[in-house]
Subunit: 334 residues, 2 copies
């Protein structure tokens, strides 16, 4: 079954190449201090013996693991999109990622505890629900970057979308299409919800639509959007701006099932640009969070902290942009 032979180590390569272990280490790390010819020969031997460095032993000695711990929630599709970007960014920075998932039966604390035991050098937390004090406690142990959430704590770095501006873009787009009775299904107590709600209200007022402000309490799941749709059906507005894409799809489904044409009778705009919102049969107009930029900035910030580089601002705010698809159209001329 599995091979009984030990895996090849530096010592094996050294013996085979006729040099010292230390030199092989130098060559494998690409560190200066080896002649070109020897370097070539050592690399050749390493390749031949299928040598792979043991990251644990490396960490043990150097204290460095080049490991970034990531906590994500399996239930949130947007987290999956972000992971995609994060892998790419970490790769470019020569760091490795270790993932730890939050599931319905496994909370953030368990996820973080695993990562701490893995000795990663910094933590990247997706939409952490922890109390600020807990985050600060963590940040006292190692650099912490919180994403999709703002935290008023020194020592906790933050990368998130400009929620206020995203909401503004969504609402102004709808206003531009002639809508006036625009409702908002918010994210309840979730992080980012207050900002998006604020952006919605500010923009409505700025355009003299203060009297049409209508906020329905929602959440982050499809079921929240579906529930909110129920509340809207009595007296449907001409457009709805939803907290996120998941909520928007739940909303869409219920609206359509009750015979309301989208976007003919009612327009819907989401937030996130989750990968499924691109699907042809959903085709959701939405505010795109710039996943790649956010991922790159988060990794960059974590690396800066780990390597002790000076950090200008604690907070990174990434601008979102409107993605026009098929769920929003001109206001019905009633």
């Amino acid at each position: 079954m599995q091979s009984a032979e030990r895996r090849t180590t530096l010592a094996d390569v050294a013996a085979e190449a006729g040099v010292s272990v230390a030199l092989v280490s130098i060559v494998m790390r690409g560190a200066p201090g080896a002649g070109a010819a020897t370097r070539e020969r050592v690399l050749e031997v390493a390749r031949r013996l299928d040598y792979r460095p043991d990251s644990r032993a490396r960490l043990l000695r150097s204290g460095r693991s080049q490991l970034l711990g990531v906590v994500f929630d399996v239930r949130h599709p947007f987290h999956s999109d972000l992971l995609t970007g994060l892998y790419a960014a970490a790769d470019a920075a020569a760091y490795q990622l270790t993932l730890s998932a939050v599931t319905p039966r496994r909370d953030e604390h368990a996820a973080v505890a695993d990562l701490l035991q893995d000795r990663c050098e910094a933590l990247v937390l997706f939409s952490p629900k922890m109390r600020p004090a807990e985050l600060a406690g963590l940040a006292a142990r190692l650099p912490v970057v919180a994403m999709m959430r703002s935290v008023r704590k020194r020592d906790v770095d933050v990368v998130h979308t400009d929620d206020l501006d995203g909401a503004r873009q969504a609402v102004e787009y709808l206003i531009g299409l002639g809508h006036r009775r625009i409702a908002h299904v918010d994210g309840g107590t979730l992080h980012g919800s207050a900002e998006r709600r604020q952006g919605y209200e500010d923009t409505m007022r700025r355009h003299g639509l203060g009297e049409h402000i209508r906020v329905i309490s929602g959440g982050s799941g499809e079921e929240d959007g579906a529930r909110a749709a129920g509340a809207l059906l009595d007296d449907p507005p001409s457009a709805v701006f939803a907290f996120n894409d998941l909520s928007a799809t739940g909303l869409l489904d219920v609206l359509r099932r009750h015979g309301l044409d989208v976007p003919g009778a009612i327009s819907v705009v989401g937030f996130d640009d989750s990968s499924f919102s691109r699907l042809a049969h959903i085709d959701l107009t939405t505010i795109a969070q710039d996943v790649d930029t956010m991922a790159a900035r988060a990794v960059a910030r974590a690396v800066e902290r780990v390597e002790g580089a000076p950090v200008p601002h604690r907070e990174v705010v990434v601008p979102p942009r409107l993605v026009v698809r098929g769920t929003a159209g001109p206001a019905p001329t009633a």
Copy 2:
């Protein structure tokens, strides 16, 4: 920012408790060979100093990492459900999980390479797309458990749902509701698709409905279901059995948008029981894969292999069960 002091080690605890490093190691592992009183005292000191074992150093010496590597695809919601179960099962077996994701920009090979470097003791692969020969090559290095797929290779363990029987249950349920013109949207070349298609065809024939067999080529995503729906609209059957839930929701959406009432005019049954199929506004009748059992069996099998226990069968087939919700009803009496 981050604390400059080293983390506490066995040596710190030993010094503080006035015993040897080796003894502390014994106590921390819960190994026999320490007196009750000393054990208590050492544990107290360890707690006080917030000692946490360094898993890398432990591995380095013992050769064991108690680590199971898992490869999953961020795009597949069912994988998320399975992860939830896997964490629970690994926990119970005192193993830790390291995750490695497949993303649109990161393939299985990259995901596996990371896990190998992490020195996990066995690999659990969700719906691997690799060629059988590649899987066998991996299995020569360490125990490999493939899930949701059958592989005809010695040395590769397999845990999957009884796809044939799941399809049978779905089709017989629909037949029981009076349906005769039942179509199947398959999973294309994906693993499990052939078995489910076979189960559909066999069952149709066994009930004398061979002439009504109608298979539409599909896939695993919502877009595949949506596309298949288009092909069905010309001459809609009275019921559709879809390859999986994601495909079924895409299908549902398009059918409804074209004015077909579900389940009044047409019934739909999915496969997986993904968490979203439970949502009130989707409420999909489906064939549930028994996630917890599959997860438990996969972990058990991996652990058996790692610990050299005798393994009875290479293949574990878990029975699925029908979950009745709202998308399938009596055949229209046309």
